[in-house]
Amino acid sequence: MNVDGGRLPAMSHQAAVRPETWVDRHGDALYRFALARVGNQRIAEDLVQETFLAALRAAERFAEQSSERTWLISILRRRVADHFRRRARQPEELNEALERAVAGRFTAAGKWRAAPASWGADPAESAVRSEFWDVLAECLSALPASAASALALRELSGLGSDEVCKELGVTPTNLWSLLHRARLRLRDCIERKWFKKD
């Protein structure tokens, strides 16, 4: 019971916005949103932090009709778009290391040097173990930025290929090539750090 005659203080913008609770209440959701787009742990964490700080500066503009989460996600969405735009202006990184790693998986005749190892009867059951997701994020973050974003947008965000092309400003042929290399590398990394470890 409220001792003040049963009346709650009038809701103000200040009362509606509670930054001290943001990380607990929205941190995971915002991080997932960012990681599923940029595909890199550190960049996703930085974008979440920038989002909270931008929200803090704009707190008085928070329209109460949208939920706090929706408001924060809309800020993050703009930050992610800015991030992609900034990166698109930089010359595309030379994915030579990725190229070499992929080429190194096959002999000159194009056969596997070492065939993929078995992942057991039900690899999908790994998904229920929280440590698996740490390994996944680590392996994803080890990929070059464009390959990591392509894979994250396609497989974590579940966007269609055409939407991924638009988001990253690449042609379909570029995208297939990025995704192919990214999948091959991610598969190898997860096998090395997760399935062989068991």
Binding site: P19, E20, V23, G27, D28, A29, L30, Y31, R32, F33, L35, A36, Q41, E45, V48, Q49, F52, L53, L56, R69, T70, I73, R105, F106, A109, G110, K111, W112, A115, P116, S118, W119, P123, A124, S126, A127, V128, S130, F132, W133, D134, L136, A137, R154, E155, L156, S157, G158, S161, P172, L175, W176, S177, L179, H180, R183, L184, L186, R187, I190
Partner: protein, 96 residues
């Protein structure tokens, strides 16, 4: 002769090209001759069959990882403790 070339290409596809096509097939429908070549290749190549199964498994697993809907989905990808502390402290400093 061109039909013979197609048949030869179908019969002699190396794993390097097959893996590329297996990945591409996850993103779009392959041209028929490439699709046929991959099918034939997989008949004789256990390693590429396994590769395809593992990519499909990865897709299935990743789809569960980052439910980015607005609700608290219980999705397993979470902000790490160190990042959580760093962000909380930045937020405290800015909110003084």
């Amino acid at each position: 002769m061109s039909a013979l070339r197609d048949v030869l290409r179908i019969l002699t596809m190396p794993c390097r090209d097959a893996t590329e096509a297996i990945s591409r097939a996850m993103d779009e429908r392959l041209p028929w001759s490439l699709a046929a070549a991959v099918r034939v290749h997989k008949l004789v190549c256990g390693a590429c069959r396994r590769y395809e199964r593992q990519l499909q498994a990865l897709r299935e697993i990743l789809a569960r990882g980052a439910d980015t809907s607005d609700e608290d989905s219980g999705a397993p990808i979470r902000l790490g403790d160190e990042a959580r502390r760093r962000i909380e402290s930045a937020l405290r400093d800015a909110n003084l």
